[in-house]
Amino acid sequence: MNDLFKKKNNKADLSHSTRIANNLLLKHYNGMNRKKDNNQPVAWVGVDIPAYIFRAMGIVPVFPQIHAAFQAQRKAVKNMMNDLESKWEIPHNICGEVKGVIGAVLCENEIAFNIPKPDILITSNSTCGQVTKGFKFLSKYMGVDLINLDFPYVYDEINEDMINYVSDQVAEMMDILENKIGHKMDIESIHDSYANIFTFSEMWREICEANIISPAPVNALDLFMFTSCFISMDTDDGMLNMMAALYNDVYIQTERNKKIENNEKFRVMWHYLPIYSKKRFFKNLFDEHNVSLVTGTYLAMHDELGSAMKFDFKYPITKEQIENAKFQLKYSKKGETIDEVREGMIRYTATSMLNSDVHRGVQDKCLKIKNMVERYNIDGVILHNDRSCRPQSLPQYEIRKYILEELGIPVLFFDSDTMDERYFSESQITTRFEAFIEKMATRKGI
């Protein structure tokens, strides 16, 4: 038998691509300080604002919320939370991620990476209002200017007034940043950024969709970990190489799974953010019950990015394929003037940010889950009620009701916190998970 088919486990071993991602991250964070030393401006940026804008301007973007996610994986995060609550009277129920952002400044000894101090802060409320307030706090505390992009909440449909309102602000932000760097943004860099982001999002889409087949070749919990990388570095060439390695790892397992016995009993999806520090616990729980976590709403970022072109990547993805994809995208933009490209970038940024899942009504969230349930043939949905995230957690009962009544599949509902593991109880989750398995089994008649 070919080596390819020797392994019995039906989940991909992502150690190779994870190693590349870790090295990339280390290089990325270390490189930030070097760039700062070389007088490149540093912007601390809200997680919903795309990195490609900054790359096109030669500005170093630092995403403190992503940094907070790395902190969440460190034990020291508990000390940080305690300090913020006791010394600063920031209540325990405020968003853990925002506390991580503020904590990186107020409790410097707890930081995960040595991130350079900002020359400017940029935030938006397209995820939530707490992030904006957190950045405002930092702006006042650190004495650093803040650009705050205001996104109207999308209760129903996005309309032209909303797009114009947001586009005006994005354009103003670009003017401010161009003044800061002392020159207009480079058209070639914009083309490169566009090409990279679309190439990357296309590869990501194909990786995520590999799990449509059964048995799913990759544990979606592993994929969550990669999202931290690509928000920070979505236009980095190294990211495309890392994404290619991930694609290849997943492809190999997909082929293996065609040849091995399918012991996948249940296919579940995760709504909203994972609990970073409990990845091992959940992996064990899933493996023990032959459950595949196949997807999650947080992974479907390619839907928001809306790539202009579809590629059909072939295994193994090589540098040539990546360059070819980038070339096609760059070529499609070649005839445009700098003003047209700039205008297109502003509108694309405004629209994709308005499309942010967090910033839309309950109905939109339910429809997104319905599409995923149908597409990935889901048996049950895990609803993580992230207690400190109001926009995502408060409508969870409505979402639960919709899944149970309209989609007719079981739900595992539990309270916890993405950052703060003081709100997590392994024994309670285990009991509820077992009941969830029972319900899925009854429904499937097994």
Binding site: K133, P395, E398, K401
Partner: protein, 375 residues
């Protein structure tokens, strides 16, 4: 009405606003629409022939909110859901949600599953004084007016709007005068009574409230004034009609001279909105209302509060917040620090709606006031 009757009537309304609305409906046959925070342009509803009333934590019996929203939710939003899911909501013909904070936006989204009443959204931006927000607010006002017209099947012309605008503008001016009087003659009216007068106006027809305010101001101007040596307090946050909190502070030996409350002084814009012009005059009101849940480029919570504190020559500040009120708590850490830098003493009180448990709170308030008297 003499002054005592005015206070008595206002406290009666504040103690049970739903009962008052029901009584008034029987008396006058008026139609009522509820709204959830300081921003909705009430004038548009008024011009459409409705009496806009503020929805707060009326419902004292129901705990239906636990069915609809997760427990990590602020008391205010829960009380709105409790009210909407109760029979008390029958007194209203519709509800207006204004875009305020993450929690209220979710409440607005799930409201359709709680009530079959007309639900309107006044979707204003989160930043209220930026270069681009003014035009967006104007488009939100036009959108809101169109929605009211089509859903309530009525045409609102400019004359109707102007008439309503003048009534509401006069109300804001009268409330400003009352607040000015409170500041200039400490003790001439207690915080407990003046807030009752202000909050009662959220449930009364505005022309009726204007007459009440005029009568009160006239009687107060004729009243003999005796200077007080009590410590002067400003309160900030939301009390959700629970005037017992204010009563407690004043019974402990202070006077609540000024406020920055969601149902108090925050209902009055920081600047006069000017003569009628549609939709600009309404946009002027919205963009000059200050709420810590919003973001501003030119003003901030700490600046607004310190200005109010200085203007009233207060001695201390008491923050009254509900648990899970993210925007206020996110601002609080910095505001508290600023007050401390200015040498101003502050106390944070976390409370819940309709509480009668004041024992611990009283001890804390008394200790705080003692510290003010000592230094």
């Amino acid at each position: 009405m003499d002054i005592k009757d005015i206070y008595r009537e206002c406290h009666r309304i504040v103690n049970d606003p739903v009962n008052y609305i029901k009584e008034e409906k029987v008396k006058s046959g008026g139609k009522y629409i509820g709204y959830t925070c300081i921003f909705p342009p009430e004038e548009i509803l008024h011009a459409a022939g409705y009496i806009p009333v503020r929805i707060m934590g009326f419902s004292k019996k129901n705990i239906n909110s636990e069915k609809y929203i997760t427990s990590n939710c602020c008391e205010f939003a829960r009380s709105i859901i409790d009210f909407l899911s109760s029979e008390d909501a029958d007194s209203l013909d519709g509800i207006v949600f204004s875009h305020c904070c993450d929690t209220l936006q979710v409440t607005a989204c799930i409201a359709h599953g709680i009530t079959d009443k007309n639900i309107f959204i006044y979707n204003i931006p989160s930043s209220l004084d930026s270069q681009y927000s003014y035009d967006y607010i104007k488009s939100a006002i036009s959108g809101f007016k169109s929605e009211v017209e089509s859903r309530l099947n009525i045409d609102i012309d400019e004359e109707m709007l102007q008439k309503s605008y003048e009534i509401y503008r006069e109300n804001r001016q009268l409330l400003s005068k009352l607040n000015e009087l409170r500041r200039n003659k400490p003790g001439i009216i207690s915080g407990y009574d003046s807030l009752a007068v202000t909050i009662a106006g959220l449930y009364m027809a505005k022309d009726k409230h204007n007459e009440l305010l005029k009568s009160l101001l006239e009687q107060l101007s004729l009243q003999e004034y005796i200077q007080t040596d009590k410590k002067k307090i400003i309160v900030s946050g939301i009390i959700n009609c629970n005037l017992k909190l204010i009563e407690l502070i004043e019974e402990s030996g202070a006077i609540v001279l000024s406020d920055d409350l969601c149902e108090g002084a925050r209902t009055v814009p920081l600047k006069d909105s000017g003569d009628f012009k549609y939709p600009d005059a309404f946009a002027n009101v919205t963009s000059n209302l200050f709420c810590p849940a919003k973001n501003y480029e030119n003003i901030s919570y700490d600046k607004v509060l310190i200005d109010k504190f200085r203007e009233a020559d207060c001695d201390g500040v008491i923050f009254i917040y509900f648990p899970f009120c993210d925007p206020q708590f996110m601002e609080y850490a910095y505001v508290k620090r600023k007050f401390a830098e200015e040498g101003i003493k502050s106390l944070l009180v976390e409370t819940v709606i309709n509480t009668n448990n004041f024992a611990q709170m009283q001890t804390r308030v008394e200790a705080f006031l003692e510290s003010l008297y000592r230094f």
